[in-house]
């Protein structure tokens, strides 16, 4: 179930990014945390989903022939960063947004939805 939740949330975040923009990530994750506040560690699940969503999008593009790896290297060199930096940042940023948003959403959900 945890894996399923992670995957479903990742799909939701990915769709939200495609249809909206990057800022949809914390919104979706916060909503997840609010609703699923009783599940174990919703923040970690959301963090994983965030990374999976954006990383999965790039992976699909790469499988489709897009030069993700070489572009990442060029981008890193241009920004004077290690070669792995752009890819790691692309995974870490949504993970951070989603994880913290889901955690805070869960705290709010637990406060207001938990029966007295």
């Amino acid at each position: 179930m945890a894996i399923l939740r992670l995957l479903m949330l990742a799909i939701g975040i990915a769709l939200g990014t495609v249809l909206g923009a990057w800022w949809v990530v914390p919104v979706v994750a916060a909503a997840y945390g609010f609703v699923m506040h009783r599940t174990s560690r919703p923040g970690f699940t959301a963090a994983g989903s965030g990374a999976l969503a954006w990383g999965g999008y790039l992976a699909l593009a790469s499988v489709g022939g897009a030069p993700v790896g070489s572009f990442a290297a060029s981008l890193a060199t241009s920004m004077q960063l290690p070669g792995w930096a752009p890819l790691v940042a692309t995974l870490a940023f949504p993970a951070l947004l989603a994880g913290t948003s889901a955690y805070l959403g869960a705290r709010v959900g637990g406060r207001y939805l938990t029966p007295a």
């Binding site: 495609v18 800022w23 572009f71 948003s101 955690y103």
Partner: protein, 822 residues
């Protein structure tokens, strides 16, 4: 103690920080959210790295459908029903491939780079504004009547660019916008004119007055005139003089004179950018070649034409290859400059043409008398006070906030600048009203070489270009085309003139009949490579000065052409990458003789014999693997440094100006000239041989320390003088560095090369990297794209202008966008 409150606070802090950096960025980082967004951010570049096999779009303003077909080199072939539609489509496809480049170059001409990259560009922006370039562009646009040809084409091009912007999603924007956290700006006709101004600045902002003034400050007027003469001592003019060979005119350089205190006072306030580097050759970066061979000297009995324009190596290239077809009206193939509505260099069914920079002096300075030294409002001309025009120049940052406000004043001549305590105005043909768009349009419709030159001379203003043309009838011709000022009698164009009298003003422009030119010369060939256009013995008036010219490539080209009276297309292509050097041929004997003379004396510099042997073994060709070229170039640089030490102010290390290598060669003929004496040595008076031998030995030592022993391979020309093709923003990840190339020291490697045989059956050969590998496509019949374009063998990685693949040709179909009433 419960940790939950701390965890919540921590999570809030982290989320807040991430949202802040995500939306606003931090320091040099762009807003990370839009940047890392895998759909619309920087990663969008990978999603659109490959072109779709076909696409369709609606463009407003199209009169009928336009089809764009791409060959396997990625060159768009545009088929339209009208010329306006062809230009619209050109704007569209160029925007699709070069959007950021277009905006960057236009902003560079307008002085609005700060709006794109921030306040770091303030210094870069202030120069074009101080030179009056944006004002000049606005005036050119205002002078174009609505509906005129030039205005129509500018509008059509802008329509096409903006249509692409309307179609493209943020994901398709170039990655540079993502890195800068900016979005593309909509294109207007003014942007194209700013681009032209930028090109004018690149090619025609030559201020010989400053060289002379700087030299005069240190060595006096007489010596300064000799060091920076009007005419180059080495004559191999563009307009053949009938001699059939080059000529070296004697040049006597008087001994250094007394310091000129007036000029010295001005010298201290010359912008530091005017302090040239040591290497005189490198300072002439923007140099090009073109030549044409008459049927009498070609194996095919057709006229042949070759052109390779040299500009700074960048990624993407300054040039964009395209083909425009309007059946019955237009069929032109060539290169355009992104942002320019038309083909700049290319060929049609009837004519082929190419350009090199003339280097004419089309700029003069005037010392103005003003009413107030701090905030002038008037200037004096012929005892009458005239109002100065004031223009507020606002510099804005990325968000639109004003960074700085400058006031630029203008006389009737042009912009006014303060130089120490003097106010100096400038008149420059680049700022004069002109219509380059019409010039290139009419050129591409010419049917004969004579017609081509005439329409071009009528419309083209600046920067002056040596235009070579060949036609299907076998005529070859060349004309140095641009508007050349007629200066007052007695003015050599290299002095700062007295602005208080109208007698200092230009009285008009040269008549076209007096331009340097030739048609079907008896010698059977024509060539231009930035040398002096006309023999001083034939020149009707002052055109330019030696330091703006360079004779060496012309000497080499003409040597090759003179030696071959049955030239083929393959010969022409081989000539374009020929690594020979007349400069080396003429200077090396002096170096070797100097080495021999000094070795015969006591106490010769260490390693001189080794250096001499390397030079002796060198074939004087700049091939990738040889060791001699870097030794020669380093030695020549050191000869210049030691010789022109009088041009370094006391306490400084940089020369105020550098005489040309042609002047240095002339000095070589005078072994005992006082200029050879090293001012730093008080117990010896050096002669030519001592200085040259010392420079040669020092060059060896320098290279040994830098690269090790020659046998280790570090001296190889391809390694030690490799080409650097830098991204426009200098991004290392998107540049191509350390490319081994053959060719001379200027490093102004061609950005494109073309060899054309007239008449039909023309071949376009384009080198896609500096190593000179070749490919060809056959130009198809009008309106018919070859079913399969000949694939190009090209090396990967060097440039991004032409992508090579084995995929089928791709196409875009553009249809008119219907209005709401349809």
């Amino acid at each position: 103690m419960k940790l939950r409150p701390f965890a919540v606070a921590g999570a809030l802090l982290v989320l807040g920080g991430a949202l802040y950096i995500g939306s606003s960025g931090a320091g040099p980082l762009p807003p990370l959210g839009p940047f890392l967004d895998p759909v619309r951010g920087a990663w969008g570049a990978v999603a659109y790295a490959s072109l779709a096999d076909s696409a369709a779009g609606a463009l407003p303003g199209l009169g009928a459908a336009v089809e764009v077909r791409y060959d396997t080199r990625g060159v768009p072939h545009i088929f339209a029903a009208s010329e306006d539609d062809a230009i619209r489509a050109l704007g569209y496809v160029v925007a699709r491939d070069r959007l950021f480049q277009m905006e960057l170059q236009a902003r560079a001409g307008a002085g609005t780079l700060t709006e794109l990259v921030g306040k770091a560009a303030l210094a870069a922006d202030s120069e074009p504004r101080a030179l009056g370039m944006p004002r000049g562009a606005e005036q050119k646009l205002a002078a174009m009547a609505p509906g005129s040809l030039g205005r129509r084409l500018l509008d059509a091009y802008a329509d096409g660019v903006n249509a692409y912007l309307d179609h493209a999603s943020p994901a398709e924007w170039p990655v540079e916008y993502k890195l800068l956290g900016r979005r593309p700006t909509r294109w207007t006709p003014l942007h194209s004119l700013n681009l032209y101004a930028r090109m004018g600045h690149t090619l025609a902002y030559l201020d010989g007055e400053r060289d002379r003034l700087a030299a005069r400050a240190l060595v006096g007027e007489a010596a300064a005139r000799a060091l920076f003469p009007e005419h180059t001592p080495i004559q191999e003019p563009i307009q053949p003089n009938g001699a059939g060979m080059s000529r070296i005119d004697p040049l006597r350089i008087p001994a250094p004179g007394a310091v000129d205190s007036v000029a010295m006072a001005l010298l201290d306030h010359l912008p530091s950018s005017m302090r040239l580097r040591d290497d005189a050759e490198v300072s002439r970066l923007f140099a090009s070649n073109n030549w044409a061979v008459a049927p009498s000297r070609s194996r095919s009995a057709h006229a042949l034409l070759a052109g390779d324009p040299h500009l700074g190596l960048t990624l993407p290239s300054i040039w964009y290859e395209a083909h425009l077809v309007v059946p019955g009206k237009l069929d032109v193939y060539g290169v355009t400059i992104p942002g320019s509505p038309g083909i700049v260099i290319g060929f049609t069914r009837d004519v082929a043409w190419s350009l090199t920079n003339t280097g004419a002096d089309v700029l003069d300075f005037y010392r103005e008398t003003v009413d107030d030294q701090v905030h002038p409002t008037k200037y004096l001309v012929d005892d009458t006070w005239k109002e100065l025009e004031r223009r507020e120049e606002l510099y804005r940052d990325k968000s639109g906030s004003v960074l700085r406000v400058d006031t630029v004043r203008f006389t009737h001549r042009g912009p006014l600048q303060r130089l120490n305590k003097e106010w100096v105005s400038m008149r420059w043909t680049v700022n004069e009203p002109s219509d380059l768009v019409s010039a290139f349009y009419h050129a591409s419709h010419a049917t004969t070489a004579a017609d081509f030159l005439d329409v071009f001379a009528r419309d083209y203003f600046a920067p002056a270009q040596n235009v070579i043309v060949a036609d299907r009838g076998g005529t070859i011709a060349i004309r140095s085309t641009g508007h050349y000022p007629l200066r007052p009698a007695g003015s050599d164009g290299l002095s700062i003139l007295d602005g208080s009298t109208s007698a200092s003003d230009w009285t008009g422009y040269w008549p076209v009949s007096q331009y340097p030119q030739a048609m079907n010369p008896p010698q059977g060939f024509l060539a231009s490579a930035n040398q002096e256009p006309i023999d001083p013995q034939q020149a009707p008036a002052y055109l330019g000065y030696d330091a703006a010219y360079e004779p060496w490539r012309a000497l080499q080209i003409n040597r090759l052409l003179r030696a071959n009276d049955k030239v083929t297309l393959d010969d022409m292509r081989r000539f374009q990458t020929d690594p020979g050097s007349v400069r080396a041929d003429w200077f090396v004997p002096y170096m070797r003789n100097a080495a021999a003379a000094v070795l015969a004396r006591a106490a010769a510099p260490q390693d001189l014999a080794v250096a001499d042997s390397i030079l002796g073994a060198w074939d004087r060709r700049y091939t990738v693997g040889n060791n001699g070229a870097i030794l020669f170039e380093t030695a020549l640089t050191l000869v210049g440094r030691r010789t022109w030490d009088e041009l370094v102010p006391k306490g400084d290390t940089v020369r105020v100006a550098t005489p040309s290598s042609a002047v240095l060669l002339a000095l070589m003929a005078d072994s005992a000239s006082v200029w050879w004496d090293d001012g730093g040595t008080t117990n010896a008076v050096e002669d030519r041989d001592a200085i040259v031998a010392e420079a040669l030995a020092a060059a060896y030592d320098t290279l040994f320390k830098r690269h090790g022993a020659p046998a280790k391979g570090g001296w190889a020309w391809g390694k030690s003088a490799s080409a650097q093709v830098n991204h426009l923003l200098g991004l290392p990840g998107f540049s191509a560095r350390d490319l081994a190339v053959q060719g001379g020291a200027g490093r102004s490697t061609p950005r494109c090369r073309a060899v054309v045989s007239a008449p039909a059956g023309a071949w376009w050969s384009n080198s896609v990297r500096a190593s000179g590998r070749w490919g060809r496509i056959r130009a198809g019949r009008a309106g018919i794209l070859p079913r399969r374009a000949t694939p190009i063998a090209c090396a990967s990685g060097a440039t991004a202008t032409s992508s090579c693949s084995s995929s089928p040709a791709r196409s875009i179909r553009c249809r008119p966008r219907r209005s709401r009433r349809d």
